[in-house]
Amino acid sequence: MALIELHDIYKVYDMGAEKVHALNGVELTVERGEYLAIMGSSGSGKSTLMNLIGCLDTPSSGSYVLNGTAVQELDDTQLAGIRNKEIGFVFQTFNLLARTDALHNVELPLIYAGLSRQERRERARRALEKVGLGSRMTHQPNELSGGQRQRVAIARALVNDPSILLADEPTGNLDSTTSEEIMQLFDELHRAGNTVVLVTHEPDIAEHAWRKVTLRDGKVTSDQATARATGSDRPAAAAPVS
């Protein structure tokens, strides 16, 4: 069974005078351990799709099965639970809590998971070490560079051991050198066995992934392996399910 199964997904925004079809019958399946980039021009529906996958939003119609659970049947509280345990979301604008140090930012999902203070602290520390910020735990967001902030956000996404790591233009606010470092971190996380889905409109960022899906006007117009997929560093975890 695939990790993500999207079937005939529509998302319609009713803007009064006209209806905006942000998603227009999307079909998409993502297997465990995949490294997927979603591409497309601005307004093609990438973020809308990511928000649906991340259970931040629900489709107007269609079915979404995540890790065996039919998401469209869940209520608000259950969706919050899925976001907490199954999903790690990384945003373009980092979305860290201001005036809150890195450790506490990373701890946040664990609070809602109901973990003890001690365990939260321990896991947050490990997650920060994993993204290379072991020495910046007590820094607040405004004391960190853009790349470091995104690392904190990635640590927060990882801290609950989610089934899937989602990133909507994670390098959109970073310079090219920092972008490259962040993408190497994603590569690393993928190699370690994480399923990664990221949105980008930059072709060289997309080339980090193994599979590339292109959206246009809310529809999947192409779905292909990247050049890298044929390379030698392909991990066993991402072996095609045939």
Binding site: G81, N84, K85, L97, R99, L108, Y112
Partner: protein, 407 residues
């Protein structure tokens, strides 16, 4: 766990906007401070008055003339009389009277050598006044029946008089002047303190007849009477008896009201409590308005806070906060805010009450009963919940995507 965490978050948020938080709670602070100040003063009053009245005993009855207000404006009020003969008739004809003391009140200057003093009052009484009103002489003695019968020029003074006139370590035997009449000090009363603006230590006692010469003949027709019944169970009977007798003696037609007042200790207590109760009620109304204003202030600042922290709410929801988590977080913040206000108000109100009680002479010390503390805390928590629930619900219903996109 989540609850504690929410409390921590709330405190951090309030600390981040310390000045704003304090200003927001001002309404609550004022409201709670007002209620606690008034309650502490009223309770202090009630406590001492009750103590004093219970000191005179459950068999105590006061009879005094009631000024007739007249049925028509402009028509002169009838001269109300309560005379020594009335007093005599009561002790002879009303069954159940154990002891009776008539007295008159007046004011006069007292002198000793070059010292002059204007006492709070001069009481002209009979020998059993001391027993009826349950008072103790500290040094010397109260005047006796023999003093009265022989028209001896004696006086018993409150401790303050001895100080004011500078009578020295041994006031007994000294001759002072009450107006122009000389009198020998034969006793000094025990210190009693002040209450309701009355200084019980600043009183001069003289024999009934001396007071009549001092204040004039007609004062003998406007006396006060204090009685003791033979037992608490006979108080009502004595009260009825006195009433019937005085109506008969004063020839009051059945259609007319009494021209005198008979009050038992119980009734005096009730009257005092009624007065203090209405003071509390009026202040309660004012406080209600203050708390309402305070609550609206809290609601307002919480709505601002929810708007300001829309993105934070979005982030929390994105990482798994449920509606109820967000609701509880903001509700606790509102409650914490109003509880802090309530706590400050409580301290301030107590301080204020204590200060007022200290500044006004004759006021008993302020007393905050535990129920008032509970009420203040409960009320401020209630205000926090009532006015915090709407902003908190609003925060909890925010759509995560819209919240994250909020600029």
């Amino acid at each position: 766990m989540v609850f504690l965490e929410n409390f921590r978050i709330a405190l951090a948020a309030l600390r981040a906007n310390l000045m704003r938080s304090i200003l927001t709670t001002l309404g609550i602070i004022i409201g709670v401070a007002a209620v606690v100040a008034v309650v502490s003063i009223v309770q202090g009053l009630q406590y001492t008055i009750t103590q004093q009245l219970q000191g005179v005993g459950a068999t105590f009855i006061a009879v005094s003339p009631k000024q007739d207000r007249g049925n028509f404006p402009g028509v002169a009020a009838r001269q109300v009389k309560l005379t020594s003969d009335d007093a005599q008739a009561i002790s002879e004809k009303v069954p159940g009277v154990k002891m009776m003391s008539p007295f008159i009140l007046g004011r006069a200057t007292v002198k000793f050598k070059d010292r002059k003093h204007n006492p709070f009052m001069i009481i002209g009484a009979t020998e059993n006044y001391q027993d009826v009103t349950n008072q103790t002489v500290d040094r010397g003695r109260f005047f006796s029946q023999v003093d009265l019968e022989n028209h001896r020029k004696v006086t018993v003074i409150g401790p303050k008089i001895a100080d004011e006139l500078n009578l020295g370590p041994n006031p007994l035997g000294k001759e002072i002047y009450i107006d122009v009449y000389p009198a020998t000090v034969i006793g000094v009363m025990e210190k009693k303190g002040q209450n309701l603006g009355m200084d019980f230590d600043d009183i001069v006692y003289v024999p009934f007849d001396s007071a009549v010469s001092l204040f004039g003949r007609n004062t003998a027709d406007q006396i006060q009477i204090r009685l003791l019944a033979t037992g608490p169970e006979r108080v009502e009977q004595v009260k009825d008896g006195v009433g019937r007798l005085l109506r008969q003696r004063h020839k009051i037609p059945a259609s007319e009201p009494d021209d005198f007042e008979v009050q038992t200790q119980d009734e005096i207590l009730k009257t005092v409590n009624k007065v203090l109760g209405s003071v509390t009620a009026v202040v309660g109304g004012v406080v209600g308005i203050a708390l309402l204003v305070g609550g609206i202030g809290i609601m307002n600042i919480m709505l601002v806070s929810v708007t300001e922290r829309t993105r934070e709410i979005g982030v929390r929801k994105a990482v798994g906060a449920r509606r109820q988590d967000v609701l509880v977080q903001f509700l606790i913040e509102a409650i914490t805010l109003s509880l802090i206000g309530g706590g400050i108000g409580l301290a301030l109100g107590y301080g204020l009450g204590a200060l007022v009680a200290k500044l006004i002479p004759g006021f008993p010390p302020a007393h905050v009963p535990i129920w008032a503390v509970g009420l203040a805390i409960g009320f401020s928590a209630g205000v926090g919940i009532f006015f915090g629930i709407y902003p908190a619900a609003k925060a909890s219903r925010l759509d995560p995507i819209e919240a994250l996109r909020y600029e």
